[in-house]
Amino acid sequence: MLSRTADGLYWLARYMERAENVARILSAGQRIASLTRTVGSEGNEWESTLVAAGCAEGYRDKHGEVTAGGVVDFLVRDPDNPSSVLSCLETARRNARAVRTALTADMWETLNDTWLELRTFESFEGAGGERILRLLEWVKHRSLLFNGAYANTMLRNDAYYFTQLGTFLERADNTARILDVKYHVLLPKSEAVGGPLDYCQWESILRAVSALRAYHWVYHARLAPWMIAELLILRPEMPRSLCACYAQITRHLELLTEAYGGRRGECHRRAGEIHARLRYGRIDAIMQSGLHEFLTEIVDDGIALGRDVGELYLLG
């Protein structure tokens, strides 16, 4: 297929996934912001929400001071922020339109309907939290619908593999960032404290990746930081864990190799190496040698992997 088509599918999937992730991070952030008020702590929830969404720098350049209203607007609506929910959906649809022939009718209709509906939303200035939560829910649903549409209607060929690569590279990046923003509350020293604030921090991490229920099913135990870290980093059965994402990434890279008569490159080596780290890592070792360092490395390696994929397939 055309390199540009592969590129369009890959970024389409990445931006849909990013829209969903930003929406999840923001809902979790809003929740914790209102909870911390009730447990009597100032906290800097909005700051860490920005960092988790990868938007801290852009926000500082534009607004300076971090306020609840400013962050919500910047993450939901602001067209100057390429990662705002609305920008992501716009970009996704633009990519979709440029590669329309590679989409199934259901994929296109899902994306186009999302975009049409989006344009009927009015400004969010001064909108109540309730309306914003409704919008975030809507975004989540649209993304889930898109994932369902492509999983259920695309032929299992290279077009599908590139779409999957986009979804899982973006998701891995997102999970790693969410964990990294909060790594300090997961460190052993805070375990001893385990006050209500910690508890609600832990809960918010799990909520941001829709894993609160999953946690209980896997561990049948009260929230504990090292288990949260293990669930989101190493557990293959947790669909948003780093390990699960990289299993999908390596799998689809292998499928591409198969489809293309054995052609492979640096991206295959790098993805396999990252996956091995996650597949055979142990959480106590990661905690001991530094959770923050481990996550930073994963994020950086993920970025390099994106570049490698681009070089082999997307730039022609």
Binding site: S3, R4, R97, R100, W108, L315, G316
Partner: protein, 470 residues
Amino acid sequence: MPCYDEMRESDGVRAPYRLVHEWLAKAPQAELELRRKEAELLFRRIGITFAVYTEGGDPERLIPFDVVPRVISRGDWGRVAEGLEQRVRALNAFLHDVYHGQEILRAKRIPEAIVLGNPLLRPEMFGFDPPGGVYNHVSGIDLVRVGPDEFYVLEDNCRTPSGVSYMLENREAMLRIVPELVSSHRIAPISHYPEELFDILRSVAPSACRGNPCVVLLTPGSYNSAYYEHSFLADEMGIELVEGADLFVEDARVYMRTTEGPKRVDVIYRRIDDEYLDPRAFREDSMLGVPGLFAAYRAGNVALANAVGTGIADDKGIYPYVPEMIRFYLGEEPRLPNVETWRCADPQDLTYVLERLPELVVKQTRGSGGYGMLIGPAASRAELDEFSARLRAQPADYIAQPTLALSTCPTLVDAGIAPRHVDLRPFVLQGGHEIRIVPGGLTRVALREGSLVVNSSQGGGTKDTWVLEA
């Protein structure tokens, strides 16, 4: 102005419209409105839009769709189709001649000056034989009807005519929103157009091409107003939709960049104008084209559809001579007449045009899309004066024609069903061996009462066009 209504005659309803008329009589206005809205929603969801570059407004606009079909009898269509085939063959012969021996100029059947002095002539094409000898693979011939047996050719489009996706999607929309009305008629199918087009494109692959030729559609990109059509046709034919940057030329061979490395391209259905095709051969500042493409074409390593340089055949200044071409190359009389045309470059014609300006339609020879034209009977005194001055200053840029009483068809408007003027653009396909025409074409309708301008950029709409089989 009295004009031919395609549904009503003085004492009743014309035969092809019998069932449509019954349907209109039974369906309440609100119901028809509802159907129209359904169709628009459908188009919006599929994304059948076109871009209009004006300030503000909707960047992706819908072309208004009218739910009342336009019906053409089998007999009428048969005569039209013969005329179209004849015309397209003559245009191809003319293009070959202009770029080779120029017999028609030497025989003085067309004045040399309007061909050789024409900026649409591409000297780069002299002496070159395009694969299969075909120049205008896809032609859109605009027709108007003024009477029971009178169809006229209003203009030829031999470069990159568009609109065929509307023809196809209009039929799909009708099948969804008024299935009973459709199934009560025997309508000639059109949905095989993409297959026919694909056959035509394959048939002109360079002779050196072995095996299955690789055909692609070259688009200027998603910001082009006809992008939907490009993606639709590529999709229907199952070929890659490429942009200039997806192609490159090496050793005078064209390749596309794919995820598996470079892949050789044999036939390019290009929807980019000549000037932008190749910055090395034509406009240097073109970002849309492929450097070296024209050299590859001249080397015979790739086919372009349509060929480079076809603009000389559909120029409005050349148009008056198409009947001459038919006589000269085919030895036949034209089956589809031209509209009488005065060339303002000719001093005698100019004098006549200036005298009769309030009755005439004046067009710029290089204009398109309904811009830069004057409709005498509808013009104000000031507009007429302005055009007179322009005609005197640049006579060679203008032609004039009588204001034709374009036929009308019943159309849904705010006040109910009312007659509105229509034209017809059939699409004629020409391959290495034969000409194929999908029955019907795109009917454009002027939605404003009395208006004769059907262009979508000027508020025109479209209708599904039915050629009856029985």
